[in-house]
Amino acid sequence: MHSAAAKALFLRDVDRFPEVLLQERRWTILEREYPILEVLFEADARVPLRVRLTCEEWNALPPSIKLMSKGGGALAKMPTAPGAQLHSVPHPATGLPFVCMVGTREYHTHPVHRGDAWDNYRHASGYDIGGILTRVWRAWLTALP
């Protein structure tokens, strides 16, 4: 995909997050410059989670997602979600814990899920950048704190 088109699509997706929603969800946008979106999730009685989406070639490719501590360092402990979306077992390509969920690059490049192509989802509702981030956030909310 042409990088200017990818950037325009990225900006369309991330510039429309309404302030009222950010407040309701307690999301703090830390960085919003193509191809990076970095958001801090906070909630009562939960360890905050910093989520970095790298969205180059959006949306020909799904975002690569990195989970970090509030300060931007490695997570001391990966949250454990009941649906196993947050994986402490390293991804074979990156060697890092990863988000194993439709809509993330780590899912679609994992050997177990290579048959489940991103193209099956990329134009579907709820698989824009905000939708994917929402899914990660909900997985985090269901995880052990």
Partner: protein, 97 residues
């Protein structure tokens, strides 16, 4: 009916905002709706206005509490002014290395 945030909410009504990562409905301010109306009416209007073509599997919450779109604002214990967070649920995962 659009509602001015500075005005009081009339009796038996709710001033509602539907918030999604694709924007809000209404675009600004809030919408005045009867408190006995089902939530799904506003959710459908929001999806249409925001050009969200498929919301099957999405959930609505307020203050972190999951709402039932097939029930009214009253039945969902929503009154006066409310912001409804509307979005997809986490999708499945489960790869094993």
């Amino acid at each position: 009916m659009a509602h001015n945030e500075k005005d009081d909410v009339p009796k038996n009504h709710v001033a509602v905002v539907i918030a999604t990562t694709a924007g809000t409905w209404p675009l600004s301010g809030s919408e005045l709706v009867p408190d006995h109306q089902k939530l799904e009416v506003a959710l459908e209007k929001a999806a249409k206005a925001l050009e969200i073509t498929n919301t099957s599997g999405w959930i609505a919450t307020a203050g972190g509490r999951k709402l039932d779109p097939t029930k009214s604002y009253l039945e969902n214990q929503l009154s006066n002014r409310c912001t409804i967070d509307f979005g997809p649920v986490e999708s499945g995962g489960g790869a094993r290395a």
